[in-house]
Subunit: 480 residues, 2 copies
Amino acid sequence: MSFYSQGPHTYKVPFTLHAENRQRFFEAFNTEAKPTDAEAIVLQGGKQQSQYDTDRELLFRQESYFHYLYGVKEPDCYAVLIPVIKLSVLLIPRLPQEYAVWMGEIKAPQFFKEHYLVDEVMYVDELASFLKSKGIAKIHVIHGVNSDSGSSSPETSFDGMTDFQVEKGVLYPILTECRVIKSPEEIKLLRYVNKVSSDAHKYVMRNCKVGMMEYQLESMFLHHVYTFGGCRHVSYTCICPNGHQTAVLHYGHAGAPNDRVIDEGTMLLLDMGAEYHCYGSDITCSYPVSGKFTEDQKHVYEAVLAAVDAVKAAMKPGVSWVDMHLLAESVIIEHLLRMNLIQNGTVQELQDECIGALFFPHGLGHLLGLDVHDVGGYPSCGPPRESRPGLRSLRTARSLKAGMFLTIEPGLYFIPASLEPAFKCPNKSKYLNEPLLRQFFSFGGVRIEEDVIVTDDGIETLTQVPRTVKEIEEWMAGRD
Amino acid sequence: MSFYSQGPHTYKVPFTLHAENRQRFFEAFNTEAKPTDAEAIVLQGGKQQSQYDTDRELLFRQESYFHYLYGVKEPDCYAVLIPVIKLSVLLIPRLPQEYAVWMGEIKAPQFFKEHYLVDEVMYVDELASFLKSKGIAKIHVIHGVNSDSGSSSPETSFDGMTDFQVEKGVLYPILTECRVIKSPEEIKLLRYVNKVSSDAHKYVMRNCKVGMMEYQLESMFLHHVYTFGGCRHVSYTCICPNGHQTAVLHYGHAGAPNDRVIDEGTMLLLDMGAEYHCYGSDITCSYPVSGKFTEDQKHVYEAVLAAVDAVKAAMKPGVSWVDMHLLAESVIIEHLLRMNLIQNGTVQELQDECIGALFFPHGLGHLLGLDVHDVGGYPSCGPPRESRPGLRSLRTARSLKAGMFLTIEPGLYFIPASLEPAFKCPNKSKYLNEPLLRQFFSFGGVRIEEDVIVTDDGIETLTQVPRTVKEIEEWMAGRD
Ligand SMILES: [Mn+2]
Ligand SMILES: [Mn+2]
């Protein structure tokens, strides 16, 4: 058997996972596209890139569609799949003899064939002639727009491509849909990487201290998932704000690089997830650096946790993700009313007036897998994106299916850039307790994020970290 | 005063460093290009990029020429410099109001002006109209080929660019040459990042153990330089082989990702360097994981160390880097003769027959700074690249000048891909003790790498790690 592994203490991913992915893809493609035996699929793997014009290589990460079907860690490969005969070919770059001196042993095609469990391996420069030898006249390539980024997929190109009829409209939606439903082997791997990330979150939770820099928690997390989990990559840049910056949803980027001191009495919001063999996780923990919640911190936290719990209890196949978002939002509104932060309306009225989205502006959660915001959120046949605040940020509006892997991540934030304009707007301000809300501007916000698989009759929660106020306080006090 | 800093325990880089860089650049440009008052320089900063077509942002790292002049950590900026009046302008992207919710506070131009010590700050969309308001007709942009990668610099482009005469031939060599000689402020910063990297190497040296995975040493290093030095980036992917893979010069890449177990009795070769405020370091330590050198390990190691010491003793302004490479090579040949690994010739004969390059195939060292293989190695007016094995891999053939920052990194490797063909070649094989050399194939190799500044009469060594066999053994045994 052939595996991807990062050593004896890490998970062994069998390459049969990808062989099975290819089989599922062949079934779907043959059913939906009804190809002739003169048709093939050509995929281009990720290219090794350098930083600007220098010779400094960026850490390579395989392109996700390619990885889904092949699981190949090496850059600059191609793939050919012939659907009618279910033939899988991997094409590797022909390396110069010098490579052996600078980069290491040059492995023969036979090695790749046995390692990656493909039918044939050849060199990239043989691509066009191989297609011709098989009587291929038409090739299908990836072509589509990612619904999260709005960016187009990279164009496939290879020497001799102009000799073939190129079909761009068929492959993308079929392959995308394959990625949406996770297989049993994929789920095992996702359990592993979620466990690795959960353990690292727990470690950070116990070891954070007032006076540390936010990036020192990022570093702790990265070190933990790499050392103990073999995860060289994370699914996204770590988001590690404390204090009022916890209300900055995508903190951690170049302009706000987790570079503030952690102050006494503040909340931390740590959104960090590791990636193993390109499969990701996406977990957020929020807690007071002191290890002890104040009354305010507890109320805000428990509002968000109640939203998580309500959604988890309601999730199962057939349920609409839009409804789940609205459910979470209504729970948060309920709690805000109870805290007297909002007023003068029922939960329904406040929801209808979009008061919830002032405090919870992002979507409830998203598909997750090879990409942190995984593909397939808005298929052409599926429900379109809604326009209401909150809902318009949802990364999918689909109904749940068994095998979908999603995050549940409601949040409750006090964002000046969101509330200041609302205070000035009569339709909104009448619902807002402005003086009290202003006192929460220094609070920031709370987000709780867990990763769950939809099962036949509910969900399986993969994230395992202390979640209730009591659990967190016990854990941070050093008790298990 | 305005600084870049990663918190109280880290170095404060004054932004006057970049103001001084701009002044030095203005002097050089005005002297060499003799611009009129209708000429300006336009630079495009690094762009925030995403992974393939997804919305996963890659960790941003500023483009080096832009960083040299401005030291700006934010992506998507531009710069205008008007040399005749020595005016420095920074142009920042105009961010949508939504940015405040997702990414954090939108800082006003005034903030950037005071923080980065520039004359004026405006929005990128004002670039063309600003140039016109200043009567600029001709703009100079970066255009050149990096002598290490062979890649061309990214093309500058902005809205309205076609209204100006664009000159590509003047700026690149002048700005490149400015980067070659480090200023006193730059040297202070380079001392810091070298100290941070040295300390992390020392930590790894003491904490490595048989049975660990190679990447666990990489992780230890990354964690140490980030936590204690505030270094979010490293200058290059960590190279962490053990055993025979120590002979793979660029180990650590996607195809050989530091993923082997560290075996008993092997040598480690750890080539790792942190980067702070985009200024880098590049350090290699080689030592036995056991903490105790065998006789063979000691002989090979001391051959390389003797080469380092010989070069350090000879370096000063005016000395040719080609001569330094040949000096290091001759010391290594001398030691190989003493070990009976090569034979039947004097040092000079063996060097003339290119026997040294079989064991030491890469260059002695390279310029270092904002890029790990820094620019300026082969200026058009300078000595060209030589064609001999060894010398053809040298990243510069220049004579030393005070203020140059270089690595000294001789190595001695037993590389099957290099020696096997030599055994078959009569002109080479007569000098090689094949049976004894074959016994060293499992050894791999040794590299020692230090970073030095050329001073007025010699060098200053910035790298501070245990170097002699005795120092390493003492340090690994826990003694200081
Ligand atoms: Mn998420
Ligand atoms: Mn180097």
